[in-house]
């Protein structure tokens, strides 16, 4: 399904508006859209709303064998799923260019910068380590998927708790959350991506482009930093010509934005920790916006079930009782049985000499011979096996 095309007048208007420092939704050039971070019911599930762009991240863990090159380090695996729900152009299954670019950038931003301590994920060195898998699902694409995905991924990792595990010899026991409370991951620092879009060959610069601005931009510069002003990764894409001064200006803006976002994420994690400690119910259900007219919630509703038994009884009475007698099958030949009136007069062909073999030459038989398992002709003929690779051929006689 193709995207609705962009008309020339829309493109000209957007570019003219950017020249006059005006954006569609009235933001300034360096403003972010409102960021909303909410958490799901279980640990490691987090939703990020960046304006209308909506992304969900879910962290899960599993015990696997480590890589040979790093025997005592856990494995962290990222996967951004561009769900067909997010935009008509996202197809199921096919890895589009955008999905490869986003996945590689998230990997570079969160894995190469060693923000998760992988040594602490080792259970039995060389044999069993934790594999942490971060699945990011894009639910609504309204521009700037990279920032939303990176915020969702790092927040979910901080929010995640993996089950406690103890080893006796090579026997490992995994404790369920009830037995021992799960352990958080050790996160050294929180890299956050900030995207800058460039227009008119780099003369104009916008932060956090929305979907319409992304369609008219020339290129994008993505800088990932943490609040200690350390750069975790930089990636420029699109046919833009950058100058050194522009890159330096972007990194300064990025450091300001990153500290704001990190503080917001910290507050969200804190609220959630307080809510869970206070035992309140938390999850997607609570984050349903009750005040909106498009949302409605009801509490437990009883289902009255007085006349159920009467209804059931009269249905069963009304149905006529199935007859007990059943036609008995005919056995033209041992190993072959048939029931139901046969239309091909199997009995007349009784005198066929090959007994124990389907003697009707229905199409099913020929193909079957073509299949790799050789069908047994009759008792004494040597059963020639398919060219399986075992050295000595074992001749199986079915009637022993």
């Amino acid at each position: 399904m193709k995207e609705t095309p962009l008309s020339n007048c829309e493109r000209d208007f957007l570019l003219k508006a950017i020249e006059e420092k005006k954006r569609l939704d009235g933001r300034q050039t360096y403003d972010y859209r409102t960021i909303k971070v909410t958490f799901g019911t279980d640990y490691g599930c987090c939703f990020v709303d960046l304006g209308k762009t909506r992304v969900m991240a879910q962290v899960s863990c599993e015990i696997v064998a480590p890589k040979e090159s790093r025997p005592n380090e856990g494995i962290v695996f990222f996967n951004i799923e561009l769900s067909p729900m997010a935009s008509p152009t996202f197809e199921q299954g096919r890895q589009s260019e955008l999905s490869v670019k986003l996945n590689r950038q998230l990997e570079r931003c969160l894995r190469n910068s060693k923000c998760i301590d992988t040594e602490s994920l080792c259970v039995v060195s060389g044999e069993k380590v934790w594999q942490i898998r971060v699945d990011v699902h894009v639910l609504n694409h309204d521009g700037n998927l990279m920032d939303a995905s990176s915020i969702a991924a790092i927040t979910a990792l901080c929010h995640f708790r993996r089950p406690d595990v103890s080893t006796q010899g090579d026997e490992i026991t995994v404790y369920s959350p009830e037995e021992r409370d799960p352990i958080p991951l050790s996160v050294y620092h929180m890299p956050i991506c900030v995207s800058f879009s460039f227009f008119q060959q780099g003369t104009y610069l916008l932060v956090d482009p929305c979907e319409r601005e992304e369609r008219v931009m020339d290129g994008l510069l993505m800088i990932a930093m943490n609040k200690h002003r350390e750069i975790c990764s930089i990636q420029s894409s699109g046919g833009i010509m950058l100058l050194k001064e522009q890159v330096m200006r972007c990194s300064k803006i990025a450091s300001v934005k990153v500290s704001e976002i990190t503080e917001l994420v910290g507050k969200a994690l804190e609220n959630d920790r307080k809510a869970r400690k206070a035992g309140e119910k938390c999850g997607f259900a609570e984050s349903l916006p009750q005040e909106r007219i498009t949302a409605l919630k009801t509490d437990k509703t009883p289902v009255e079930a007085m006349d159920v038994t009467e209804k059931v009884d009269d249905i069963i009475q009304k149905a006529e009782v199935p007859p007990l007698s059943v036609p008995s099958p005919s056995l033209p030949v041992p190993g072959v049985g048939q029931v139901g009136q046969n239309t091909w007069g199997l009995d007349e062909e009784e005198e066929e000499e090959e007994e124990g073999e389907e003697d009707r030459d229905s199409s099913g038989e020929e193909e079957e011979k073509g299949t790799k398992t050789q069908k047994e002709k009759d008792k004494d003929e040597v059963v020639e096996l398919s060219d399986s690779e075992e050295e000595e051929v074992v001749i199986l006689h079915p009637d022993t």
Binding site: K311, I315, I316, K318, A319, E320, V321, P322, P323, V326, P327, S328, P329, L331, P334, G335, V336, G337, Q338, V339, G340, Q341, N342, T343, W344, G356, E357, E358, S362, S363, G364, E367, E368, T371, T373, Q374, K375, E376, V383, L385, L396, P398, D399, T400
Partner: protein
Amino acid sequence: MAAGFKTAEPLEYHRSFLKENCRPDGRELSEFRTTTLNIDSISTADGSALVKYGNTTVICGIKAELTNPTVEAPGKGYVVPNVDLPPLCSSRFRPGPPGELAQAASQFIADIIESSEVIQPEDLCIERGKLCWVLYCDLMCLDYDGNLLDACVVALLAALKNTKLPEVTVNKETSLPQVNVDQRHSLNIHRHPVATSFSIFDDSILMVDPTDEEESLATAQLTVVTDEEERLCCLHKPGGTAMSGEKLQECMSRATVRQREIQKLINKVIHSVNMEK
């Protein structure tokens, strides 16, 4: 002329037959096609069966292998069913990864094995936590003419009853399994689930054992699986026209009759194979 009418207006063609409540191939609405069962036709498999519902032909081969049980269920072996619809059985299936129909059928068979408890997974366990049997049940459709699910369930049940597993003893010191091939015992089958499929035509007429053409014109499919104690193992109706409780009751009673019929057929054929040995 009838052939032209059939290709031009398939729906009208079928309606004209259904008015006198019979069907183009001469069967009544609640009548099954000739069901043929052949057991132990593949010698290289541990258990095999070939079933024909009219033209629809399904062959089931079971191979047993030794493996270590899963971490979550150390005391149980497991069964891996797989329904394969190769391009040779109908022009509608193209080579390549299994399509939606094949995957839905595999999931259906897996649910049946689990819900009906046809075999106890504990029987497949040899050494708790160390060694157990895994039964790879591969069902291949050789000729597709409608009603795939019924044929698959009967083929699977017959093949399971025909399966012979060799004796396995775990040698204490080397803890290696020793398999002696000639000492074989068969699986004990606890339940005999049999499937009966119906299809609904024009939101009103209910018919049993639909052919491929009737299936494509039908507005709903329903499959009822019952066992010998008339317990239901599955009521699989993936959408289509709505059905009332009474109609479902009608289908279930037809299914119990069919179950007895098939069970009798399987027992007789198994008996004839053992007698002949």
